[in-house]
Amino acid sequence: MSVFRRKPRAIAPVAETKLQWSDDAEQILENGRNRLVVVGAVFALAFTLVGARLIDLAVLQGHDANQTALNDEQRPSAERADILDRNGVVLATNLITASLFAEPRRVLDAADAARKIVLALPELNEQEVEKKLSGGRAFIWLKRHLTPKQQHDVNALGVPGVGFRDDRKRVYPHGNLVAHVLGYTGIDNEGQAGIELQYDEQLSTVTQKASAATNGDPLRLSVDVRVQFALQQELSRAVEEFSALGAAGIVLDAVTGEVLAMVSLPDFDPNQARTASSNAMFNRASLGVYEMGSTFKAFTTAMALDAGTVKIGGGYDATKPLRVARFTIRDDHPKKRWLSVPEIFIYSSNIGAAKMAVDVGAERQKEFLGRLGLLQRAALELPEVGRPISPSRWGEISTMTVAFGHGIAVSPVQLTSAMAAMVNGGIRIDPTLMAKQPMDTPQGTRVIKTRTSSIMKRLMRLNVEEGTGSKAKAAGYLVGGKTGTAEKAVAGSYQRKALLSSFIGAFPMNDPRYVVLAVIDEPKGTKKSFGYAGGGWTAAPVFGRVVSRIGPLMGVAPVDEESKSVRNAMFIRVKAGG
């Protein structure tokens, strides 16, 4: 029975009314109770849900909440990640500085304010400051990155309408040392060159990332500052001694492909990159491409031995200069006789190398150098990587000149990486500037047979013992290598006096781990070098000294070079049948 049926009954007998009342009231109460129960059930359900959700959040998902709180931790916004060397030494970091800004609308007397500010910061121009202050803009920077003393001085002036803001400045504690690898950043800490530009996105995307763990993780390079310093210092010495224009050097781990040091001289201070000249900024080690000269004979020899066109006991006649078309190929150290393959290598015979390459043929030479990565840009993590220059028409004459490193220009990085493949057992590995995990040995591609690589090691050792590279010796370390002396092509012709002298080698030669390259740009002969400025006199000693310094650092055990076992391991027959 519904309540709505109830009608007022005004006049009714008392007894009857009473009975009616109680009847109705019971009905109403019944209805009311029913409704209360329904409403109560709905509320109870709602509260149960809320309660369940609370338990769910607080107890079951409590761990997640903790994580959320951790993630919530305020990281400094726009904080650029640090760059470290392979041992965790800081190479680039940020420091908080104060930057001076002005709100010109709130400046009362622009002329007076400008005069005062210039008093505290004499390097600013008063007219310019006044112009900035009197323009009706809302906000303007007056000077970025003040020193604490400057900040104090400006603060003491009490000029209204100017203030400081926390700013972050990129700082390179090592200054010039790793300049070309790191590059530098602009005023707003954006990468402008080197690693800073290459990894700009990765270094600057710090906040608002899903996982807190990867936020602001520093970038770890393969470079070792100690090795870098040894190389830089020895190259600087050579540049000074031989009044050279510049120099470049690389130390490469032949097994992992990691670049341990990369130096280009002259260098610059990335803390003040804007004042550096473009010559100093130029990365000779990766961006510059040069005709490398005789160091290419190592590739020619390996190629010929690997292809089987000549045996290690074979050789070529180098009695007379080689005439091809209008070119004449001569030897720098003429022996005027038949030379065996090891002799061609250690006396650095152009004629022998040219003949060796002709037997292999242009096609196979081109393909071989391509496999060594000498015909395309090096895959290094830098924006400044030079494109090699190779002959457009690879005819017989090109085959001959390329055999001894002329008519083809490559960057020092390419040369070093290709040389690593010669001595590490024949595997080419892309060079890298990123630190690798100790167990992470890259696959690489096989370019020469292990046997050929073994012969190359002996030849390079022999060259240091008896050939052009004797000044590269480093007592206690079994070094081997090849000199290179190339005449620089200036305005289309080769200059006899403008040389690019180099030495590339590896150590320890019985199981090469490190490849070291030293290139010196236009050294001048000195009294001490008897006027010679070739690779054997200028770059080879740099190599020797660098190896002596980094050998102990890298934990390479010294050996007695004269001991019988070492000599046997490095033995190679120089004269055919002799």
Partner: protein, 115 residues
């Protein structure tokens, strides 16, 4: 019965309101403490960064070389100063006779040479 229930409900409501307020103020207090800690953390981190940078700056190889050249008698390690364990001669005479025998047993290569 009904009355006790009502009283209980009222008391419960009062208690819960009190608890809620307490909780709210506690959270507010904790939040300001959190902000404070985060502030300390940030400035601490910043200080660590500055110190790291200074450490790297003061440990520049060029500076270390200069300092050690001026104040220490240290020289770069010469090759002759390095040797392997197997090249060490075994101490055979008087004082460490037993020790030498022991080490000869421990180091078979070294022991092998003297026998």
């Amino acid at each position: 019965m009904r009355r006790t229930l009502s009283v209980a409900a009222i008391i419960l409501t009062a208690l819960m309101s009190y608890g809620l307020y307490n909780m709210k103020y506690e959270v507010r207090r904790l939040e300001s403490r959190l902000a404070e800690l985060q502030q300390t953390l940030t400035s601490g981190r910043q200080a660590v960064k500055v110190l790291h940078a200074e450490w790297a700056y003061l440990n520049r190889p060029a500076r270390l070389q200069d300092l050690s050249g001026r104040h220490l008698d240290l020289q770069p390690v010469q090759v002759g100063q390095l040797t392997g364990l197997h090249e060490l001669p075994v101490r055979s005479e008087e004082p460490g006779q037993k020790l030498a025998q022991k080490s000869a047993m421990l180091l078979p290569t070294a022991g092998g040479k003297t026998q």
